[in-house]
């Protein structure tokens, strides 16, 4: 069937203004939105710029706004949209657009680096693996699905008004380490998160959970950090 794609374009090397361009593509209902974009690039407009790699929702490259909502272009099919065959495609909000649908993710990864995203275990490890209760391992399971696509942070209303806020993706990774029973730095990690730029920046608006292409309950994970902070306060 014929589909119309209206795509946000921007290439500051050629034109300082942003504009939209309309394309007509013939597509099957089972085609991914990414397939359509690839076809536009191959057949109509080789200059159209977007990121993509694995094309099945595991590498996190192709988050963008599709009909007003943040989605992975490789994880949405034409038939998934009630709007039938009309699509409006825009780059992720929040970040600076570099070209067309490609945004500058450096601020996203900068936030990520701030939360010390690695296991901190002071003691010399044992000769074999550290034993871990499977029930305790399961606690962090939802956060392990994260593919760092930036959908949550891009959609977060607080991230838009407070540039200092860690944002949901970085907080989710902090959750993954705070609640990893092998990590020995939970207290100092929680201390660092106990600010308005940290966990308390979250006002439980649910956008992050709503858009997450891996269906991670991001808001609830951040909520667990807040509860741990409150519990720590009561204990003191």
């Amino acid at each position: 069937m014929e589909c119309t794609f209206i795509i946000a374009r921007f290439d500051p090397d050629r034109d300082p203004r942003r504009y939209r361009r309309r394309y007509t593509v013939s597509a099957e209902p089972t085609d991914k939105i990414l397939d359509c974009l690839n076809r536009i690039r191959a057949e109509q407009d080789p200059g159209l710029a977007f990121r993509a790699s694995c094309a099945h929702g595991i590498c996190g490259s192709d988050a963008m706004v599709i009909n007003g909502r943040v989605e992975l272009a490789c994880q949405k099919l034409v038939r998934d949209f009630k709007t039938a065959n009309n699509f409006v495609i825009e780059p992720l909000p929040l970040f600076t657009v570099l070209k067309d649908l490609i945004v500058d993710l450096e601020p996203f990864f900068e936030k990520y680096r701030q939360i010390r995203p690695y296991l901190i275990a002071g003691q010399e490890p044992p000769e074999f693996e550290r034993l871990q209760d499977p029930e305790k391992q399961k606690v962090i399971d939802p956060a392990l699905r994260c593919i760092l696509c930036a959908s949550c942070t891009a959609s977060c209303p607080i991230s838009r008004v407070n540039p200092g806020y860690l944002g949901p993706a970085a907080l989710l990774r902090a959750f993954r380490y705070v609640f990893d029973s092998r990590d020995e730095a939970a207290d100092s990690r929680l201390g660092e998160l106990d600010t308005e730029d940290g966990a308390w920046g979250c006002k439980t608006m649910w956008w992050c959970s709503d858009v997450c292409p891996k269906e991670i309950p991001v808001t609830k994970c951040i909520g667990q950090i807040k509860r741990a902070l409150n519990a720590g306060r009561t204990a003191r």
């Binding site: 200059g47 790699s53 094309a55 570099l98 275990a121 490890p125």
Partner: protein, 575 residues
């Protein structure tokens, strides 16, 4: 822009990251990646990583070694395989210590599951050897190693496309890359370059591989004079999602999933009575296609069913979450209630840049090294996988040999000085890009790529014949001619993806030619290479590795090198 580092690592998947971590603070390291590290294709690995830990049931490295040798159809080098499987338990413990969140046994040890071709007691029955983190094992290892590298302050150059190696007097002294965001040429002078650029599945139309898996490192090494080894062995994974090729992990069968034909028959019982649906991938892919040829595909079409219904919510919910999501999203199938439609999909290159167990690139069958050039991971051929790789041996390979390459490079860079670095490279490669952009051709990359996909899929995939391969070779050579007349329509420099497509297509055409040449040379059937006109394995003539090297005259030359056999003499391969 010019840079100077001790070591340049190209590729940020597990092989590249593991080498970078091994080099750590001992040398200055730059990691170049055409994507972002966390988007490397190692992250798509699902099912597990093999190691005879014996956490779930008795196991030994000798059994692991035997399975790998037999799985390779006796083409793997047994000295290298022994290094890999003996180092496997240490590798797993190390990953756990770094923080990889593996699933656990009730006692809290790393959990293990069954996988294709992995057996107890030299082939008696399946064994639980694949260590896993649900069905996102590659993803969580990639995240963990990347975070380790961040912690060490390793320098990443994200979205940098490798263009060429700097080779002077037969020694590699760095690499040239294009920064995608600006189109600028960057020259990296270095004492050593490690290629860890992964596979080349995008040569084929149906593949589980990422858009980035275009064989850049293999082709660039080949153009620089390094031989490619055993390239005719291309793995088709039996269970790609129908029409899309998206990987449905072997873990699905490791957990008890069953393949069925149109009459609901568990057909693998007929082909592999002992281990059935856990036979190796080459064999199952052929069996699926045999069923389809015999009209026993579902509704007579070109796919079969993967049935997980009987596994129950608990197994599916805890261990197979991602693939259930893929089936739902892309095929509209609820795998808890209905079978998943699957067909073979191009998955892995057993062949690659000829290299030794320390990552050194080898120039010939006398183990002459290419000074300064190293390779590890899927782009390298050590060879541990021979004619067919077993599932969950790939993550193991890239971690074991990534680390070993890192160690060897650390030793090497302490013994040599940084090359002076020829002037004018920046200008040379800038001119090359300008020429590509200025050229007025009459064909686009998409047209040539489409024809390459079609011919490789049709004539150089699971089943091959002399006539088909000859036709494919002539088509690929014709495409290489037409490639010279390619027209780059996008003239900008900022994120010029079309320029990248054209470069990648050039790499893939070179590799398609080498794969086809290897397949023509090998007049036998072994592992993933199945010649219908030569259906038997022929150890007398072909128990050798193939090597293809680009001559100074631009013509590929075929030669061979012996297979190293230590513990296990070749036998008939039955399961």
């Amino acid at each position: 822009m010019e840079h100077r580092f001790d070591v340049v690592i190209v590729g940020s998947g597990l092989a590249g990251l593991r080498a970078a971590i091994e080099l750590g603070h001992a040398a200055s390291v730059a990691v170049l990646t055409k994507v972002f590290a966390t988007r490397s294709h190692s992250g798509a690995a699902q099912g597990g990583i093999g190691a005879a830990l014996g956490n779930e049931e008795e196991d030994s490295w000798e059994w692991h070694m035997f399975d790998t040798v037999k799985g390779s159809d006796y083409l793997g080098d047994q000295d290298a395989i022994e290094i890999m499987v003996r180092d496997a338990p240490r590798t797993l413990i190390e990953l756990e210590h770094m923080g990889v969140p593996f699933n656990r046994t009730p006692e809290g040890k790393i959990a293990q599951r069954a996988f294709g071709g992995h057996t107890r007691n030299f082939g008696q029955a399946p064994v639980k050897r694949a260590c896993y983190a649900a069905d996102r094992t590659g993803r969580v290892i990639l995240d963990t190693l990347w975070e380790q590298a961040l912690q060490m302050g390793i320098r990443f150059f994200n979205e940098f496309q490798l263009i060429d190696l700097i080779v002077e007097d037969g020694r590699c002294g760095g690499a040239v890359a294009c920064e995608l965001a600006t189109g600028a040429i960057h020259v990296f002078h270095a004492k050593a370059v490690l290629l860890a650029t992964g596979g080349a599945g995008k040569i084929y139309k149906t593949t589980s591989n990422a858009l980035a898996s275009t064989g850049d490192g293999m082709a660039i090494a080949y153009r620089a004079g390094a031989p490619l080894e055993d390239m005719e062995f291309v793995q088709f994974h039996p269970t790609g999602l129908y029409k899309l090729g998206i990987l449905i992990s072997e873990a699905a069968r490791g957990e008890g999933g069953i393949l069925r034909n149109r009459s609901g028959e568990r057909f693998m019982e007929r082909y592999a009575p002992t281990i059935k649906d856990l036979a190796p991938r080459d064999m199952i892919s052929r069996c699926i296609l045999e069923e389809i040829r015999a009209g026993r595909g579902i509704d007579g079409k070109d796919y079969v069913h993967l049935d997980l219904i009987h596994l129950g919510e608990d197994v599916i919910g805890k261990k197979l979450v991602e693939i259930i999501g893929f089936a739902r999203t892309y095929a509209g199938v609820d795998a808890r209630r209905e079978p998943i439609p699957v067909q073979p999909t191009c998955h892995y290159m057993m062949g690659g840049i000829a290299s030794d167990a320390d990552g050194q690139v080898l120039l010939d069958d006398r183990k002459t090294v290419f000074p300064g050039l190293y390779a590890a991971g899927e782009c390298a051929c050590v060879s541990v996988h021979g004619a067919n790789r077993l599932g969950c041996n790939s993550l193991l390979d890239i971690l074991v040999f990534g680390r070993r390459a890192g160690k060897e490079i650390r030793r090497y860079v302490q013994s040599v000085a940084l090359p002076a670095g020829r002037a004018g490279l920046q200008e040379k490669y800038e001119a090359l890009v300008q020429d590509m952009l200025a050229k007025q051709g009459d064909v686009t990359y998409a047209q040539i790529q489409g024809e390459m996909h079609a011919v490789m899929m049709d004539k150089v995939s699971v089943f091959r014949t002399e006539t088909g391969l000859q036709a494919a070779l002539s088509t690929v050579r014709d495409l290489k001619e037409r490639y010279r007349r390619i027209h780059v329509r996008d003239k900008g420099r900022r994120f010029n993806r079309e320029l990248l497509d054209v470069l990648e297509l050039g790499y893939m055409l070179d590799l398609a030619e080498v794969i086809t040449l290897g397949a023509l040379f090998r007049r036998e059937s072994r592992g993933a290479h199945s010649r219908e006109d030569h259906p038997r394995r022929d150890d007398a003539r072909f128990l050798v590795h193939s090597l293809v090297r680009l001559g100074a005259d631009g013509v590929p030359r075929m030669s061979t090198k012996p297979v190293t056999i230590t513990r296990f003499q070749p036998q008939e391969r039955k399961y």
